[in-house]
Symmetry: C2
């Protein structure tokens, strides 16, 4: 089993000795996720948080009108779950599913808690991960308030070029909060101008 990606990810923020690394990896389970398969469904409790070793997942919610709103796209080297549900162990309001054939390493809530007890440095690690999620969310909120659809799209391409390649436009539109038709129009307008 190849843990190098996840170990490197951890070591970006904390320093583990090999014993701690081994303990950590012993808590992980590998899971293959088929395209369109769900890792978390609305109403279920998110039992795991997931680290992506290959592929692409999304976290989204469906509103009263049935419209999809995307909270997060995640690719290799990212952590994803329905954070609210995972952290509070209450039923999820959203879904997590696979946009592509994906491989994840999952960590259960109980193992996550044990990890904090045995290797307290992980408190710091996950605090940083969650802080970064908060900061990203806040920046996105400000962007949504301050930029036009075109500005948000340019921003998205610039910030996440890797997503722009692999994620269907329809979903990028949902992420940006516009209709796919309008995104299509923006793209053709931008192509015409350049």
């Amino acid at each position: 089993m190849d843990f190098s990606l996840i170990i490197d990810n951890i070591n970006k923020h904390i320093s583990l000795n090999s014993e701690e690394q081994d303990y950590f990896t012993s808590l992980l389970e590998v899971q293959q996720v088929k395209r369109r398969a769900f890792l978390v469904r609305k109403g279920e409790i998110a039992r795991y948080t997931y680290f992506i070793t290959k592929g692409c997942l999304r976290n989204y919610e469906i509103d009263r009108e049935g419209t999809i709103h995307i909270g997060l796209f995640a690719v290799e080297d990212w952590w994803i779950s329905d954070l609210q549900s995972f952290l509070t162990q209450t039923p999820s309001f959203g879904f997590v599913d696979a946009i592509e054939e994906t491989e994840v390493m999952r960590l259960s809530k109980s193992n996550y808690e044990s990890l904090f007890e045995k290797v307290p440095q992980f408190e710091r690690f996950f605090r940083i991960i969650h802080q970064n999620a908060f900061i990203a969310l806040k920046n996105r909120l400000i962007d949504n308030l301050s930029l036009t659809a075109e500005g948000r799209y340019l921003n998205f391409i610039d910030k996440y070029p890797q997503f722009n390649q692999r994620i269907p436009q329809k979903q990028i539109a949902a992420y940006l909060g516009i209709t796919p038709e309008f995104l299509s129009m923006l793209r053709s307008r931008m192509a015409r101008r350049s």
Copy 2:
């Protein structure tokens, strides 16, 4: 000095003995904040996190066009700071200022850290506070994507009736991401209909 409000706030999530309570309150400093005075300015490092005992504060950012975008309003019994700046001790992107004459109890970053060492339960307390901030932010993002301006306003009144009373409409409009003119129009339309 009356610490009952802040002690009650803490005891909603954790249980402290009186020694721990005393240690905690010994780390606090009381500060009076005049209307329009700043607690955090863009470019400065947020040295404190603030608990409001009286009054109303806001956290906001100014975009490239000079438009104000409000991240958070907070009244009595709420914690506020520029979280990104406070937690990472890096220069703030936003401001925190007073909408009314306000009194806060502030906790410095270094005392915040000491608190974790001496009373580890506070790790849990602030984890919950930050989790709740994350959840609120995410819900707001989804609301911004899924509701019309009118829906967001109704939602706002319903969720924060106390804010609707004390906060100028102009600022509510900034929070909702619409112009004050449009909010005024919405209000008169709503009044006409009911």
